[in-house]
Amino acid sequence: MNAMQENEINDRGDAFRPVAVVTGVGSGIGLAAALGLARAGYALVGVVRNGKRAEETRERILSDVPDARLRLVAGDLGRQREADRICDEILSILQDDCGGRLDRLLYAAGTVTSWYTATEDDYETQFAVNHLAAFRMGLRLREALSASGDGRLLVVSSGSHYQGRMRWHDLMRRRRYHLLAAYMQSKLANVLFVHGFNRRFASDRLRAYAVDPGLVNTDIGAKSTSGLVRRLWDSRRRKGVSPEQGAAEAIRICLAPAAPTGPYDYYKDGHPIRPSAASLRPDAIDRLWTVSERLCGLEGAGTAPDNGKAKRGIEADKGIEARRERPCEAVCS
């Protein structure tokens, strides 16, 4: 591996390598997706938890795809300051190596914690890692995605979001914590974020998707959990599909020649399917957006939803809402 290939993800020789940022690239769905994208010729910027993980991941990907173009950024996405630094580093890599353009952002980092634990900012860990960091990256890398001309933001959500409830009066679930309830809420937050993103920014050059990987056999349930949860997860994960299959949907959306435009932005097994009713409520979408902006310190980053670009998925679901919005649009334009 020569220095050129290691340090530059896009040299002048192959100017048309598309660029993808993948988080949670150290294991599970993130790693499988990164391998899939690398095989398809994507240049990758991966985000991993720490330096040791970075080395393993680099070896793992290069042993599989020897000509992969890969840069890795290490850091704790749960910590706001770190997440911000990671975004800065990614932006500077994109600036240096590919003119500030980003084609795909796949947010596949996720965690489960048995007990209530808080990050350095005093935010609940699952909420911070699974949702807030995705929100921050989506907003901070949005310009780069737009610059691509066909930018796609993918967030790995989960079928468990159907059971998710936003507990607005205690979003961090500090007072009464249950790991599954907190996990499902964070995955519902993923879908709400995707809807909020599309309401504000979706265009023919930029679009966000929530991906449902199904039940996947990864070690997500065995990271910071108790023995009991780990055993339960161990027995349950065996029924799950492999990480490769879990990543298939995300890879498919990334590689589709034209950006998929279904009635919904929630994809599973190759089809857009209807996400939970809770994830389609405009008031919940905007409320989470406002809260997340405040918690990330990103106030004013696209606060007002642009009704002209309102997401079709939401209009289809809220027919009355949509009819009410259209005349307004005519007045505005």
Binding site: W115, D122, M172, R176, S226, L228
Partner: protein, 267 residues
Amino acid sequence: MRSRVLVTGAVGGLGKAFAAECAARGWDLLVTDRDPDRLRELAEGLRRMGGVEVLALAADLACPADRDRFWQEAEAEGVRLFMAINVAGLDFEGPFGERTCEELCTIVRVNVEATVAMTRAALPFRDPMRTFRIINVSSLAGFQPMPVKATYAASKRFLLDFSIALDRELRGSGVRVLALCPAGLPSNAALVRAIEAQGLAGRLTTLNVGTVAARTLDRSLRGKTVYVPGLGGRLVGYMGRIAPPSLSAFLVGRRWQKARAGRELAS
């Protein structure tokens, strides 16, 4: 200037939970811990989360000069307090003979000396219009002598008796004191592993740190003097109070020996 809540040891798991709970209740905060960087990070998160005013002053509470500087800075900021939560505390695990003098004295300095000093120094800062509430974090370890944790358990015993006596003494002047006596709280990865190691007993006495913080504040506002969270904890606490100290020490010591033998077998 609104009066606020002092939280010491705010960067640790229980301290963070108390700080977040106070912020969620809309209470302004004065937080302190040793590490200025992490304290700043915490303060920023609390401001964003609760929309409250957060003053962060780093200090090593084991050091008298640092404590003086802390209160001078607080005075310069015009701080008024209606609650003080003394969370700062530490333990160095292991048998007495394997710990250094310095380590053992640090346990006493932080757990005992710093708590007494901070409680005393906080009194002049109380908001005269409100009941001043003090919460001292003792421990389930404070209910019985504990071989292998002798210094720590005794320091927590000190806090328990100190709080109960102080509550009675100062009640008439509008000061209430509550001693919180939790079992191990799984607030970081190392503690989660330690609780795992205790097996079922550990899991049953284990409580969510956020729940404990919220309930402690409720108990304090209701004027309780001692709060032992959880049914398992209450049982242990009750037994610790009725059993003769020598018997408790014997039982605890035997459990440690067994755990130790188990660990040596495993390794």
